[in-house]
Symmetry: C2
Subunit: 333 residues, 2 copies
C-alpha cells in the first residue's frame, strides 16, 4: 500500500477446509494442474527445479504481498490477490523493455487458512499468467504463525534489445505515460470509505492492476531513454527517473487535468489531484523519449531539462516543487 497508509490487520480467511487438512503432495496435486505452461517451459514444476528456454539476457525481479499490509480479505478475493501480485511483477519486467516469460510463486500461510481461498488465489495467479503468456516455473509452500499469509512472486523475462534503465533520461526528452493515473489509489480510498459505487472502475483497478505489458518492449524499440512502472506514484517514481538521470522533470498540469477531472466526481478535486500525483499501485508505464518519439498510446505529460545552477535533480509540477511523503515499508505507521 502506498502513501504511508497502513491497512488495519484484517481477519484471515478461515472457514471451509483448513490448509492443514491436506499434506503437501495433496495440496500440490490440486495447485499444479491449474498453472499454465508455455512453449518456453522445458521442464515444468515437480522436479528439483524448472527449466525455461531463455535468450542471451534474462530479466529477473521479485515482489511480495502480505495480508494486512498489502491487502484485506474484506476488499479483495484470493483471485484478485493472485492477479495483482502477478501484474506488479510482470510490470517490472515490461518496464525494463522485456517480455515476461515465467514466474515462481511462494505461499507462506497459517495452516488454518482455508483451502478454498488458496485455490481461488491459484486461479487468479494462473489466469493472470495465462493472459500474459507466462509459465509458472515453480514455487514453495511453507507454514507461518497464526494469522500470517504472504505471497512472494519472482518474475523472469526475455530481453531481446537493450534494457531501458531509469538513468537514461536526457534534457530535451518528453515524459510520457502509458495507461491510467490515480485510479488504483482512488479505488483504495473508495474501499476505505465504503463507497465503491462512486467509481467501480477505480475499485476494480485497485483490485486488479492492468499494466500495459506489451507497451514496454515496444517503447524500448521506439527509443525510450528511461522507463519504470508506476508503483509508488507519479511524483515519487518520476523523481526516481529524474535523480537517476541527473535531470529535472517538469510535469505539465494541463496534461494531467483530464485524469484529475475523471476522479473529481467520486473524490473531490483535492483528493483526485493527490491520486493522480501520488497514488501508488497503478503499474502504468512512465518513460522518457526523445522529443516527438513517444509511440501511439503514450501521452506526453512533462518535459526533461538540465538542472539549473545550484538546482537538484528532481521532479516539479509546472516549475514548482511539490512535497509528498511516500510509502515506506518499515517506517510508515
Amino acid at each position: 500500500m502506498p502513501n504511508g497508509q497502513r491497512l488495519q490487520r484484517g481477519p484471515m480467511m478461515t472457514g471451509g477446509t483448513p490448509l492443514r487438512s491436506l499434506d503437501e503432495d495433496e495440496l500440490l496435486g490440486r495447485i499444479l494442474p491449474a498453472f499454465p505452461g508455455t512453449d518456453e517451459l522445458v521442464v515444468p514444476p515437480g522436479d528439483d527445479a524448472a527449466v525455461l528456454r531463455t535468450s542471451e539476457r534474462t530479466i529477473a525481479t521479485t515482489d511480495t504481498v502480505v495480508l494486512g499490509r498489502d491487502w484485506l480479505d474484506a476488499w479483495s478475493s484470493g483471485a484478485d490477490i493472485g492477479h495483482k501480485v502477478v501484474a506488479q511483477n510482470l510490470a517490472d519486467v515490461a518496464a525494463m523493455g522485456g517480455r515476461p516469460t515465467g514466474v515462481l510463486v511462494t505461499l507462506v500461510a497459517d495452516p488454518d487458512l482455508s483451502i478454498e481461498w488458496v485455490l481461488d488465489h491459484v486461479r487468479g495467479l494462473a489466469e493472470a499468467c495465462a493472459a500474459a503468456g507466462v509459465a509458472v516455473l515453480g514455487g514453495d509452500l511453507s507454514s507461518a504463525p497464526a494469522g500470517v499469509v504472504m505471497v512472494s512472486v519472482t518474475a523472469l523475462g526475455r530481453l531481446d534489445g537493450e534494457p531501458v534503465l531509469r538513468s537514461g533520461a536526457r534534457a530535451g526528452d518528453v515524459l510520457a505515460v502509458r495507461g491510467s493515473l490515480g485510479l488504483a489509489d482512488a479505488g483504495l480510498r473508495l474501499l476505505r470509505a465504503d463507497a465503491v459505487g462512486r467509481h467501480p472502475v477505480a475499485v476494480a483497478r485497485q483490485r486488479r492492476p492492468e499494466p500495459p505489458l506489451e507497451a514496454g518492449p515496444a517503447a524500448a524499440v521506439a527509443g525510450a531513454t528511461a522507463m519504470l512502472d508506476l508503483s509508488d506514484g507519479l511524483l515519487r517514481d518520476g523523481g526516481r527517473i529524474a535523480r537517476a538521470s541527473h535531470v529535472v522533470i517538469d510535469l505539465d498540469p494541463q496534461a494531467l487535468a483530464a485524469d484529475v477531472d475523471a476522479l473529481t466526481d467520486a473524490l473531490g478535486a483535492e483528493a483526485a489531484l493527490d491520486c493522480v500525483l501520488a497514488g501508488g499501485e497503478e503499474h502504468s508505464l512512465l518513460a522518457t523519449f526523445p522529443a516527438g518519439a513517444h509511440p501511439d498510446g503514450w501521452r506526453a505529460i512533462g518535459s526533461v531539462r538540465e538542472p539549473g545552477e545550484g538546482e537538484s535533480a528532481g521532479i516539479l509540477v509546472d516549475g514548482h516543487v511539490v512535497t509528498h511523503t511516500g510509502w515506506d515499508h518499515f517506517r510508515a505507521t
Copy 2:
C-alpha cells in the same frame, strides 16, 4: 525442518537497532553494497529489475525459510541462515545438472527485528553467493506481523547440457551419493539435546549445509540418469527417484555402515541409523548412473531394478520396506 518435528517458536532477535528506525532506501543502502556481482550480471539490483546474461536454458527454483519453523535464533546466527537458505536453493540447481548464476532474496520481517541481525544475515547470504560465483539479482523487503521473520530465495542457473530429472533411473543403474549422510540431522538432534560438543562437525553442517555444487553438472556430463539433492532424507528422496522412474531402489546397508558408525558415538546406534536413512537438510547429491559410471567422489550405496510382479516402485533397505514418516509443512505438528 524434516521428520515431522516442528521447532518451538523462539524469540526473534530484537535489541540493537530495530528495522523500523531506517527507511527502505537507507536499509537498501546498507544491504546492496554487500552483495556480489559477477560477469554475468548485466544490470545490477536497483532498477525495476536486474538483467542476467543467460544461456539457451535457465534453471529456476525457489525455497523459503521461516523463523520458528526452519530455524531458531538460539541455534543459528543470521549469517548461518543466510548461508543455509542460499545453499539449499543452489543445491536444487546443481541437482538438475546446472551451474547456479543468480539469486533473488526477499526478507519479510517484523519491524522490531534488529538491523544487526539483518546485516549479519546479509553477510551470510553474500558470502555463500560469492563462494559459489553467484550474483544477487535483487530482492524485496516487506514488513510482517509481530514475531514473523521469513526469507525467500529464488535461484537461477545455467544449463549447458540436458537436465537430469528424477525420472530417468533405469534397472541396472547404481545409486550413488556425493557428500555426507545424516550429519545435518545429527546436528539438529545435538542442538535439541544441548550437546553440541559431542559432534561439532554435525552441528556446523546443520547450521551451514555444504552441497557439492560442482558435482551436479559433472554428474550430468558423466551420464547421471536421475538426480536430486537430499532435502528430506535418503528414504524419502530416494523414494521420489524410484517412483518417478518406476523402479525399485535397494539400499545396501554395508555401504552406509561407515556413515552410521561416524554418528554412533554422539547419538547411539539407533538414532545414528535414523539420521543416515531419514535425516533431512543434508543437501548432498543423490543420483543414479549406469553401472560402473559414477564419477570419482561419488559412493555407490544401492542398486536399481525393475519392480517385481505386483510390486510397487519404491525404496528398500537390503530388500526390505522401511517406513518413515516424512516432514510435511502443513500437517506435521
